[in-house]
Every structure is written in structure tokens, then in C-alpha cells.
């Protein structure tokens, strides 16, 4: 369904802040699959999602969706098929707009926005029903500005917005990282529920090894802009959080070795 072929991206090339975010990533995502991506800070896992979403254009490589080349599509064009939830619970909603207005914008995702009323009475009835499923009592507060809600509530609503119109691909970017444990649990449960119900093709970046071990049917570990580990099927099912942590430790140790070795070489020869 989604093909990522030999994708490279370097930020601030040629400056002191140069970051090689993606260095030859190849991933084929199957229709209806649920891929979990883990990796250390700066491993390129968020850059991977952003390259798919079109937050930036890649330096090299191709991105194809359903056989169509979307490498050069701007972000707003790709949005028609993508549902996105961000790490920051404030990123996915417009704080001064009401809950209903935010949801209405999600209901027109990817379509033309004309001069019809944004929140029609039919849409409002539908909103009440869907929002009631959150069991947060928000269905009676559809006209309150969304900025007055808690991070967990906003993130739950962002998730509803992302899947309001069935997306071809759902991108979750560490969407529970900034929440308190209880809200994080709620949002994860909600994510599992909607993904299973709508059979959504999903890519989820997470920092939590527990989530990575428990969720999804495929696991990618990224390191230094490349895919280091790709587990599927039975392998993915068997993997436990401790093993993943151990893998991380290995990676970290080899990194340290690299650095100290480089330092030693520099001391001796420069």
C-alpha cells in the first residue's frame, strides 16, 4: 500500500547543525497492517512519519501510495488520505475554536471547503454520538473552546478527528508521550479500538517498549536514519519488552564504543 524506497533526508546540510535524519530507508507497508516504530532519540523515527506526511520533501528516494508517486505532493494534498496525531496534544487542535468546529474541520479533511455552514445540525447530532463514545462528558460541551480541555481530552479528540473520515493511512507520532499515565492508557485503548474497528493501515511511533511489544503486527527499530530491525508475524508476536530494551542497550553500547574509538584515534593521530 505504501512504498518507501531508498529515502534520504539531511537537515541543515553543510552547517554545524547538520542532521542526517534518514539515510536510505526502505519500507513496504501492507494494506491493513499495524506497524510500530521504535528507536533512540534522533534515530529518524519521527522524520520517517514526517517524510510520509509531507512536512518536508525528501532529498532522494521515492514515496508511493497505492502505486501513485507522491514524492512531490505538498502536505495539504497528502492530507486527503492521511490521519495524523502528533506528540504534542496541542498540535492537533485549534485552541480557540470549539470542539464542534474542530471536528467539522476534520469532517472536511482533504475536500474543498466552501461557503456551507461548518457545523450543520446533522453533523452536530453525529458529533454528539461519536464524542459520547469517549465517555468524557464532552458531548454536552461541543461549543466550548477546545483549548480549555486537558491534554488527554484533546489527544482523544485529535484521534477522533484523524479517523473521522476513514484515512488510507493513520500516522501516530508518539501520541501518548506527553500525557499522564492514565490518559495515555485511555488514548492507547481508544487507538486500538478504532484501528481494529475500521481496519486502518497504521504506522505508530512510540517511546514505550511495552506498547511496542504489545501493539501491532510488525515492529521496526530505527537507528541513525536506517531500519535496524524488522520483525513480523510470529517473531513480532513473541517479542517482549525486555528483549527490546536489551537490543537498545546493545545499540547504545556500540555507539559509545564508536565514539570513544573515534576520540582515541583523534588523540593519537591529529
Amino acid at each position: 500500500m505504501l512504498e518507501i524506497e531508498d529515502v534520504y533526508k539531511t537537515f541543515h546540510e553543510g552547517t554545524a547543525h547538520e542532521v542526517r535524519a534518514l539515510q536510505g530507508v526502505n519500507i513496504h507497508v501492507d494494506d491493513g497492517s499495524f506497524t510500530v516504530v521504535i528507536g533512540t532519540n534522533g534515530s529518524g523515527k519521527s522524520s520517517l512519519l514526517n517524510s510520509i506526511a509531507g512536512t518536508f520533501f525528501v532529498d532522494r528516494g521515492r514515496l508511493r501510495v497505492d502505486g501513485q508517486d507522491m514524492t512531490g505532493w505538498p502536505e495539504c494534498r497528502r492530507a486527503g488520505m492521511l490521519g495524523r496525531v502528533f506528540q504534542n496534544p496541542f498540535s492537533g487542535t485549534a485552541p480557540n475554536l470549539s470542539i464542534a468546529e474542530n471536528l467539522a474541520l476534520a469532517a472536511t479533511r482533504g475536500g474543498r471547503r466552501g461557503l456551507g455552514p461548518a457545523v450543520s445540525s446533522r453533523l452536530r447530532r453525529q458529533m454528539r454520538e461519536v464524542v459520547a463514545q469517549l465517555k468524557m462528558g464532552l458531548e454536552d460541551r461541543l461549543d466550548t473552546p477546545i483549548g480549555t480541555l486537558s491534554g488527554g481530552q484533546r489527544q482523544a479528540l485529535t484521534l477522533l478527528m484523524a479517523v473521522w473520515q476513514r484515512p488510507r493511512l493513520l500516522l501516530l507520532d508518539e501520541h501518548t508521550a506527553a500525557l499522564d499515565p492514565k490518559s495515555a492508557e485511555q488514548v492507547v485503548a481508544l487507538s486500538e479500538q478504532v484501528i481494529a474497528r475500521d481496519r486502518l493501515t497504521t504506522i505508530m511511533v512510540t517511546h514505550s517498549m511495552q506498547q511496542a511489544a504489545r501493539l501491532g503486527d510488525r515492529l521496526l527499530m530505527m537507528h541513525q536514519g536506517r531500519v535496524l530491525l524488522d520483525l513480523r508475524g510470529v517473531q513480532k508476536k513473541r517479542v517482549r519488552a525486555e528483549e527490546l530494551l536489551a537490543r537498545f542497550e546493545d545499540v547504545r553500547r556500540s555507539d559509545l564504543l564508536d565514539e570513544s574509538a573515534a576520540e582515541m584515534l583523534a588523540r593519537c593521530y591529529v
Partner: protein
């Protein structure tokens, strides 16, 4: 009395300017200084067309359209060419100065003998009241002033209602969301650059409309009439927010109009009490400065009190 009526009428006319400033500064968080040029542009276009014998309503509408164009230029500079927002406005504003002179082909066009919206209103007033002046609360008031005091608020009400409903359509909601959270609206498939360009066009259209009506009211268009207008509009918006106490759409729109009228009344009273008109812009600027820092100062009060209590 006629001073009071005049202040009210000008306050209502300039509330279109306040609404324009509200759209750019508040809805889009875009410090758009183009307004200084586009208010004059509206006046210049309308005055020139009136002087050439076009009837008042189409001439005024053309002033509005000219403002739309000016605003979209600033929008394109800022969004397509990624020029600093303040600088984009300054560039357009500077260019408009020459454009306005070109349109008028001199620095001032008098409109006293032309057929304008105001002279139409006067005719209407004469037909209603069948006299050149009528007693109002013990004062003799000319029907021209009275007719305008009735008609201008009507125009403003129509503009406000249209604006309110526009910002609640799918397009309008997407525009408001753009100013609130551009990342979110891009993720939902709207081109945020297009939204800002449209928003600035609308903002400057309103400002130019204000200039078009103002020129007809005061009886001339002048190339200097835009100086200080952005700060003036901002002062109105800030007073309006203080009056209604919320930034919700409907209240904010009403607030901008109320702020504009109240500010104009305060200025009229101050001038009556002997304020030197030359000091007006200085005082307006000082007022906006205080209004901008006041919330921060007030927030600082509790810590200051704590420090005092500890000592």
C-alpha cells in the same frame, strides 16, 4: 450635539477599519500594516470614480475590491515568497503611496459637489423629515447628520452579520483555524498559505471600504489620510475586547465596533476639552502601548506582593 453625532458616525465608519484589523491581527495573528495604505486606496479609488461621475454604490464597491487586491499582494509576499510579515506589509504600504497618488493624480480630491453615498443619504433624510433640520432632545440637528447616523450603523450591522456567518462556514472556520494552529490545518488538508492570503484580502477589503465611506463622509480623499490608522484600529479592537471580555467570534466582532465608537467618542471629548489635535497620534500610540503591557503587569502583581510580604 452635532459634535457627538459626528463622532458616533465616524466611529461607526472606522469600525470597518477595526474589523479589518481584527481579522489580520487577531484571527490570523498577522501584524498587517498594509491597512495604512489600503484605507487611502479605498478612498482614492472611490473618490476618483465619483469625480468621474460613477454612481456612489458601485464606486464604493470598487474601493472594497481595490482593498482586496492590496491585501492579497501582502499575503502573496509573506506566504509565497516567505518575506517577513511586517516587511511584506511595509513593502505594499510604501508601494500604495505612489499608487494612490497615481490614481488620484494629485494629493487631494474634494467630493463636496459630487453625488456620493452621503449626498444620497441627505436626500433620503430630506424626504423622510421634510425639513433641513429637526429638533432632537432639544437640539437642532441637520437631517444629513441624522440620516447618516441611522444609515451607517445599518451598513455596519450588515457587514458584521455577513462577517460572522462567513467565519462560520467551512471556509471561514478553516481560515480561523489557520491563525490558531497552522500545523493542524495543514494536516487536515487546507493550504494555509492560501488561507492567509484570502484572510488578508478580506481584512484590507474592509479597511478600504472604511476609507471609501470615510472619504465620502468627510468630503475629500487625501493621500495622507492613512497615517496611524493601524494603531487606531488596534486601539479599537483592544477596547472592544476589554468591553466584551472574550475573544469568541460574535462577541469579538461586536466588541470591535463598540470599541471603535467608544474610542472615537473619547477622542472627541478629549479634543473638546482642549487636547491639541497634533498630539492625538502620540496619545493613541501610548494608549495601545499601555493596553499591550497591562496584562503582563497585572500578572506580575501577585509575585510582587509576595515579595513584599516576605520582606
Amino acid at each position: 450635539m452635532s459634535l457627538l453625532i459626528g463622532a458616533l458616525t465616524i466611529g461607526f465608519i472606522l469600525s470597518l477599519l477595526a474589523l479589518g484589523v481584527y481579522v489580520s491581527f487577531r484571527i490570523f495573528d498577522f501584524p498587517d500594516i498594509t491597512a495604512e495604505g489600503s484605507i487611502t486606496l479605498g478612498a482614492a479609488v472611490t473618490a476618483t470614480l465619483l469625480a468621474n461621475g460613477l454612481s456612489p454604490l458601485p464606486a464604493t464597491a470598487m474601493g472594497f475590491v481595490a482593498g482586496l487586491a492590496a491585501g492579497s499582494i501582502t499575503g502573496i509576499l509573506a506566504m509565497q515568497f516567505q518575506i517577513n510579515r511586517l516587511l511584506s506589509g511595509i513593502i505594499t504600504m510604501t508601494a500604495l503611496y505612489s499608487v494612490n497618488l497615481r490614481i488620484m493624480s494629485r494629493s487631494n480630491i474634494p467630493l463636496l459637489n459630487e453625488n456620493t453615498v452621503v449626498s444620497q443619504a441627505e436626500k433620503l433624510g430630506l424626504r423622510w423629515f421634510r425639513a433641513a433640520s429637526v429638533p432632537l432632545l432639544g437640539w437642532e440637528v441637520s437631517v444629513r447628520d441624522l440620516a447618516l447616523l441611522l444609515l451607517v450603523p445599518l451598513l455596519i450591522t450588515v457587514a458584521c452579520v455577513l462577517l460572522f456567518f462567513f467565519f462560520r462556514t467551512n471556509l471561514g472556520t478553516a481560515m480561523r483555524a489557520t491563525g490558531d494552529n497552522a500545523q493542524m490545518i495543514r494536516a487536515l488538508g487546507a493550504d494555509d498559505r492560501r488561507m492567509v492570503i484570502l484572510g488578508l484580502a478580506l481584512s484590507n477589503g474592509l479597511v478600504a471600504l472604511s476609507g471609501a465611506v470615510l472619504a465620502q463622509y468627510q468630503g475629500f480623499a487625501d493621500v495622507q489620510m492613512g497615517i496611524g490608522m493601524v494603531v487606531w484600529g488596534l486601539a479599537s479592537v483592544i477596547i472592544g475586547e476589554a468591553l466584551v471580555g472574550t475573544r469568541q467570534l460574535g462577541f469579538a466582532i461586536t466588541g470591535a465596533v463598540m470599541g471603535s465608537v467608544l474610542f472615537r467618542l473619547l477622542v472627541a471629548v478629549a479634543l473638546r476639552w482642549g487636547l491639541n489635535p497634533n498630539d492625538l497620534k502620540l496619545i493613541t500610540a501610548a494608549f495601545v502601548f499601555i493596553a499591550l503591557i497591562l496584562p503582563k503587569l497585572l500578572r506580575g502583581v501577585p509575585t510582587w506582593q509576595r515579595r513584599l510580604a516576605r520582606a
